[in-house]
């Protein structure tokens, strides 16, 4: 294979399986293999028929008469067909998530973060976004169920029962005066109302156990060791200048992840010359590591030794870094020096995976550095109960109870298997499970009650900052169910059994205060007060070791269990959106895999293990076969695997042994023991010789670097020069370089762009370089933007005060070896915000790669907003996934230091760029994709005949084709069980569709519309109110979901809009600009705050020497 030269753009998969990648690149829209899914995949396809595939096609046909069913009595202020927003909340991992739900005609259709909440400020996660599917999942239980008498089979039949029968069973058990033989088992509880009930039950002798597989056991135990009590840390990212994470993922997989990400992004503003520096030391590649400025892989086992070394290094700081140290040593010295230099403005964050002793040691270090009380605050936990989860589940197993009530969770699947929780539950006489699904645990229980979904009920909960969130119901319970608190109150025989009253009584509010709290979604100023901490004596530093310094010798292996970015701990297994959501780094959908570093792979290869083949992993007596996948950046010797897969009783999406649906992924819980809960040392895995197809999404939509080089060779005169380098898809440079650039070309933050610099660009741009005048020396770089001259001042001022248009020649486009800014006559037509035939608005978008962390919340948000279907694993494998917005991730070698072995990562969200010279439009034979006067690339579904020419001609590969009628599986695919979907089932799924977006049918192209429905709604509203649209009034779905504000959208013609300001940022560049398609979506180059002591290649030289090397061209 003719390997492309820019290897850094290319994925590791490419190096591994070049022929396949080659094929993937060439086939463009997925191969034609198997036009119809074969038998197996057809079945799998049907299994997707969760709530995510929905809507029985379009009913707009003239001949099918529609009915209009108006309210008999329309609720006050309800306007039919207009979305309303309500604040609410639900619990996730023991932390209430403040929500803002969009409801359409009384049904919630989209969930976002609550922008008013003082902690999260509207940040949300992909989980939050995707949970809108839950209430509409046809597989939710609809009635209480009871197991057949005498049936002890694992998949025992449950019969439908009614609530009265369940109450007859439960009430005597729970309203007795002595409850000492009654056990409760739940996950973390954030609800004050439920905690109140818990206290009442415990007062009568009942035992309440709290167990969740993803918990804070180690962190709390570490806090007990360090401070004598269990405290919850609050990392003040906004205040931090130096951040060190140790096996932690605080900005993503953390109870407070979105808020942390937001805080972190606030410190990443290179234009204001404000940049924190983050070091990530970790065994697995996390999004924190990808966002960090420096990342070093250290196995989880060696992390304690690293902390010991760090403590020693902090003692030994001298103020200078010895440049001759080996890289890893030097990194440690830099970290220590930075932390010492920024006392009170740094923080060390230890991940839950590390044992309590390491947490305590990190507390001691933070204390020593004066970070406590400044960058790290502590609060009391809302529930002072600091039960150790793993101990709790053991106590439950050994408890010998007569009655057990299991409130949510799925301990049979998640608990250490050695405990045989299923046997325990079956051995208990009376068991009730309260949950939405008949999962592994429910199947062991005598009775299953199906409580209301949190969106259907009054809820409350403590958010991470301790503030009390109030959740109002957004829809009446679809199945006439009651919520957990209502059920327990009823069964306990309490007086108050109404959800709202319970929540209100717990909150202690009334009148206006109560109404205001319900409206806001939280009680104002209810956040927990930080407590001051004093370090207890006797915290021991772990011994410094050399394990982390040295090259891995290939002998020791550890296996690390990570939460899944899709299914978390397995709870979202039946959520097809999340199952199909690619993992941010592996880009793997519908599976978990054994992740190995390239070097580890080289070693394992000797024993026959191959990527995308099953390898057997053994821990103790348990053996599990897992497909192998190479993950660059993984610590050598550290194998990673996501938990939460291999569910056998999740449903038609996630796997259901009862109806014969195979599980998704592999269950690795058997390998976890209470002792080695997070990681364990293992023997080398053994090969099985079985190949396994993983559905990875980066390959099929890879921007084709082969073709890109070819196009450039043809397009530009100077073939020998590596001009292609200038068009690197992702661009980045160091903060030092950017500061040097800004020193020469300061951005004027004070007064926009009012100076209207005159420059003639009406001539042919290709032949005539821009006049420079007082312009910066950086000129005639291929992507320097020609300066505008029309005074276009219809919108209150021109733009382009000279320096606003200097472009930062980011020194590194992922590969410093090839760095060369080629001088030449090449001029690229650039977008000029004030020129062109258009009138009025010019919609555009920018994405700041410095801020984007690849969390994928935007992808799910887009999916929810735009009714994007799920296609299933086989179709994903064929390259037919439908996500309008994808996030490309590029691995690169460390650009700044050749000694650094760890890969760097840049994420790049890509959706339709709305090119002004859109290549898709010129090839459409039926004009189904055309340009609007506001610069949108409109896609007209009803005109599309499905030639797919547009998709072939799209350089960004953002168009998606409906190979099947994904939203109407019943009529198209006669899958087994399809006929079991009643009309009511289908109607239920229809409820969550966004009625403002057309449902596409088979044979139709689709792609990002810049959320045109939101644009139109805002335009119409502004016109009705006789006003202009505000500069930042319109938010696209992806922008709304972005915790870090990386996405800006708005009117480029409005100088006040954020997007216009971002357009004038010197870091702005267009992807594949040399194609002259003039995309409306631009990126801001990534800035990495590299420690100068760790910079071997100083890209400031590129800025300094540039003017001399490339003298200003003379106009002719």
């Amino acid at each position: 294979m003719n390997r492309p030269k820019l290897k850094s753009d290319i994925d590791i998969e490419q190096m591994e399986q070049s022929p396949e990648l080659q094929q993937a690149i060439e086939r463009d829209f997925g191969s034609a293999i198997g036009e119809l899914p074969d038998g197996f995949s057809r079945r799998r396809w049907m299994q997707l028929m969760g709530a995510s595939l929905a809507l029985g096609g379009m009913t707009g046909c003239r001949y099918k008469e529609e009915q209009i069913a108006p309210y008999a009595f329309r609720p006050q202020n309800r306007v039919p067909g207009v979305a309303e927003k309500f604040a609410s909340t639900f619990d996730f991992g023991g932390v209430a998530q403040p929500l803002l739900a969009t409801c359409f005609d009384g049904r919630p259709i989209k969930l976002d973060g609550n922008p008013d909440h003082p902690n999260s400020h509207g940040a949300s996660t992909s989980y939050t976004q995707a949970r809108i599917l839950e209430p509409y999942d046809p597989e939710r239980l609809r009635t209480p169920m009871r197991k057949d008498e005498g049936d002890s089979k694992p998949n025992a039949v449950h019969n439908e029962q009614n609530w009265e029968a369940l109450q007859r069973f439960a009430q005597p058990l729970l309203s007795a005066s002595d409850l000492s033989s009654v056990a409760f088992l739940s996950e973390q509880i954030s609800s004050p109302s439920l905690l109140k009930l818990k206290k009442q039950l415990e007062a009568k002798g009942a035992k309440w156990f709290v167990y969740a597989p993803i918990n804070s056991d180690q962190q709390l135990a570490g806090s007990v060791q360090a401070f004598g009590k269990a405290l919850r840390p609050h990392y003040q990212f906004e205040q931090a200048k130096i951040i060190l994470t140790l096996d932690a993922d605080p900005i993503n997989m953390d109870p407070n992840g979105p808020a942390n990400a937001r805080g972190f992004a606030l410190t990443r503003d290179p234009d204001q010359e404000k940049m924190s520096r983050m070091y990530a030391i970790e065994s697995q590649f996390t999004l924190t590591g990808a966002a960090a400025d420096h990342r070093m892989s250290v196995t989880s086992t060696d992390m304690a030794g690293f902390v010991g070394s760090l403590a020693a290094a902090i003692e030994a700081t001298t103020g200078k870094i010895n440049p001759d140290l080996p890289y890893r040593e030097k990194m440690l010295a830099c970290i220590a020096q930075d932390l010492v230099d920024h006392k009170g403005a740094g923080m060390i964050i230890c991940g839950e995976r590390q044992p309590a002793e390491v947490h305590a040691a990190v507390h001691a270090l933070n204390n020593k550095l004066g970070n406590h009380g400044k960058t790290i605050l502590f609060t009391e936990l809302p529930e002072s109960d600091t039960q150790n989860h793993l101990k709790a589940i053991q106590d439950f197993a050994g408890g010998n109870f007569k009655t057990a009530v299991i409130v949510g969770g799925n301990p049979v699947y998640t608990a250490p298997r050695a405990l045989k929780i299923d046997e325990t539950i079956k051995g208990i006489g009376n068991t009730i499970y309260l949950g939405q699904y008949r999962n592994e645990t429910a199947r062991c229980c005598q009775w299953i009650g199906n409580p209301s979904h949190p969106l259907e009920a009054w809820t409350d909960g403590y958010a991470y900052d301790g503030s009390v969130c109030i959740g109002q119901p957004l829809i009446r319970p679809l199945f006439n169910s009651l919520s957990e608190i209502e059920l327990l109150s009823t069964w306990m025989g309490l007086k108050t059994t109404d959800g709202m009253t319970i929540v209100q009584e717990t909150s202690g509010l009334s009148g206006n205060e109560w109404s205001q709290s319900v409206h806001d979604g939280f009680i104002a100023n209810s956040a927990a007060e930080p407590v001051s901490v004093t370090l207890a004596g006797g915290v021991k530093m772990p011994a410094a070791t050399n394990g982390w310094r040295e090259e891995w010798d290939g002998s020791t292996l550890e296996l690390v269990f990570t939460p899944s970015s899709s299914v978390y701990d397995g709870r979202f297994a039946n959520n097809a959106w999340l199952q199909e959501l690619p993992d941010a780094l592996t880009k793997l959908t519908w599976d978990n895999a054994l992740l190995v570093s390239p070097k580890t792979y080289d070693v394992l290869k000797k024993s026959g293990i191959r990527t995308q083949m099953i390898a057997n992993v053994t821990v103790g007596d348990e053996m599990v076969g897992l497909p192998v996948l190479i993950q660059p950046g993984q610590a050598d010797g550290s194998l990673g695997v996501a938990i939460g897969y291999g569910r056998t009783a999740a449903g038609r999406v996630g796997g259901d042994g009862w109806t014969g649906v195979d599980p998704v992924g592999v269950d690795v819980n058997p390998l976890r023991t209470a002792k080695n809960w997070h990681f364990t040392s293992i023997e080398a895995p053994t090969e099985t010789g079985t190949s396994y197809r993983l559905a990875l999404v980066q390959d099929p939509w890879n921007i084709d670097s082969v073709g890109r080089n070819e196009i450039q060779n043809r397009m530009f005169m100077n073939k020998d020069k590596r001009e292609s380098n200038r068009s690197a898809l992702v661009r980045e440079g160091s903060f030092e370089s950017y500061k040097a650039f800004l020193a020469e070309h300061p951005i004027d933050h004070s007064h926009g762009h009012d100076e209207g610099h005159a420059e003639d660009h009406k001539d042919d741009h290709a032949s005539r370089p821009a006049k420079t005048g007082a312009l910066p020396v950086i000129n005639n770089v291929s992507f320097v933007q020609p300066v505008d001259e029309d005074h276009d001042d219809a919108h209150g001022g021109g733009h382009g005060d000279g320096h606003g248009h200097a472009h930062w020649p980011e020194a590194f486009h992922l590969h410093h070896q090839n760095f060369d800014i080629t001088p030449g006559s090449r001029r690229v037509y650039e977008f000029r915000p004030n020129e062109g035939p258009e009138q009025g608005h010019r919609w555009g978008m920018t994405i700041d790669l410095t801020k984007c962390m690849g969390c994928h919340a935007c992808v799910v948000s887009c999916q929810a907003e735009n009714n994007i279907p799920v296609v299933g694993k086989d179709e994903v494998w064929r390259g037919r996934e439908m996500h309008w917005l994808r996030i490309d991730r590029y691995y690169g070698d460390n650009l700044y230091n050749s000694e650094a072995k760890d890969k760097m990562v840049i994420h790049q969200p890509v959706s339709c760029h709305h090119c002004e010279n859109a290549p898709c439009e010129t090839v459409c034979p039926v004009a189904a994709t055309v340009h609007s006067s506001e610069g949108l690339n409109d896609m007209v579904y009803n005109r599309c005949i499905g030639t797919r020419y547009c998709g072939n001609n799209c350089p960004y590969k953002v168009r998606r084709f409906n190979y099947f009628n994904y939203t109407d599986a019943v009529t198209f695919l006669k899958y087994p069980g399809a006929n079991k979907m009643s009309d009511a089932d289908l109607a239920m799924q229809n409820l969550m569709m966004n009625p403002d977006v057309t449902i596409r049918s088979r044979g139709v192209m689709e792609k990002c519309t810049y959320c045109v429905q939101r644009i139109q709604a805002a335009k119409i509203q502004a016109k009705n109110e006789h006003r202009e649209i505000g500069p930042n009034e319109i938010q696209t779905a992806c922008q709304q979901a972005c915790s870090t504000n990386a996405v800006q959208f708005g009117d480029l013609a409005n100088p006040k809009s954020n997007v216009r300001k971002a357009y004038d940022n010197p870091r702005r560049y267009a992807m594949l600009e040399e194609l002259n398609v003039i995309p409306r979506t631009s990126y801001l180059a990534r800035v990495r705050n590299v420690n100068p002591a760790l910079m071997e290649f100083d890209d400031r030289d590129a800025i300094r020497g540039y003017a001399e090397r490339h003298p200003e061209p003379q106009p002719h």
């Binding site: 379009m58 009913t59 707009g60 046909c61 003239r62 008469e65 529609e66 009915q67 209009i68 069913a69 108006p70 309210y71 008999a72 009595f73 329309r74 306007v79 039919p80 067909g81 207009v82 055309v930 609007s932 006067s933 506001e934 949108l936 409109d938 896609m939 007209v940 579904y941 009803n942 403002d996 977006v997 057309t998 449902i999 519309t1009 045109v1012 429905q1013 644009i1015 139109q1016 119409i1020 016109k1023 009705n1024």
Partner: protein
């Protein structure tokens, strides 16, 4: 074996078959045209409603304003078929129950039974949709009514209809005709519900179109999203 030849008299059948084929094709084409042409299949669409509500009586003789019932027409996309409670304002009373504040017009009429049932059970009256655009078309009433496009431009003289009938084809061409030349349909937004309004001023429409700055666009995404 003797070769078979078609006799000469077959020749005239060849012609006749060709001609017949053309006729059949023409016939089919006409049928197809008739079956999909919006002005043929849409105009005159007149479904029977569960309650024989007479616009002629209410909007015509009683001169009720359109917006009494279709009260969201200025605010949102849907003009909104009114809730049954609106009917109940006049027709809701049950004379057997004392102290009612609702109107008592035709309290016993069998034709109004669905209304009374709906008021009692809280279930909707299931009206039939007359003007039904395809689901991939997003029409917004408020955007038009606030720009001085009268109800009559699309719905015709509703105030003269005993049973509501579709009078315009509501095809894309028909929409575009107006989007390209909106002036004849523009009037004072205060008068949009005056269905019989005619201006003597020959420049009336031009004046108002200019005053309101009406400049509709014909982008696809204006209606298709």
């Amino acid at each position: 074996m003797q070769e078979f030849h078609f006799p000469n008299w077959v020749n005239k059948f060849t012609l006749m078959m060709l001609a017949g084929g053309l006729l059949v094709a023409g016939y089919l084409a006409t049928c197809l045209f008739a079956a999909i042409n919006p002005s043929i299949i849409n105009i005159g669409h007149q479904p029977t409603q569960p309650v024989p509500f007479s616009h002629k009586l209410h909007a015509g003789r009683l001169k009720m304003d359109c917006r009494y019932c279709h009260n969201t027409v200025e605010k949102t996309g849907h003009a909104a078929v009114p809730p049954t409670a609106t009917c109940g304002n006049c027709h809701g009373a049950d004379l057997t129950k004392p102290g009612t504040t609702l109107g008592v017009v035709h309290p016993d009429s069998p034709l109004l039974k669905p209304v009374r049932v709906s008021l009692e059970t809280n279930d909707p009256v299931l009206w039939k949709r007359v003007h039904d655009l395809p689901d991939f078309v997003y029409f917004n009433h408020s955007a038009h009514v606030n720009r001085g496009v009268s109800c009559v431009s699309c719905h015709g003289r509703i105030d003269k209809m005993e049973v509501v009938t579709q009078v315009e084809p509501m095809s894309m061409k028909w929409c575009l005709d107006c989007h390209r030349n909106p002036t004849p349909n523009i009037r004072d937004p205060q008068l949009v519900t005056k269905l019989d309004f005619k201006s003597d001023d020959p420049n009336y429409h031009e004046t108002w179109a200019e005053k309101l700055g009406v400049n509709p666009n014909t982008n696809c995404s204006t209606c298709h999203r």
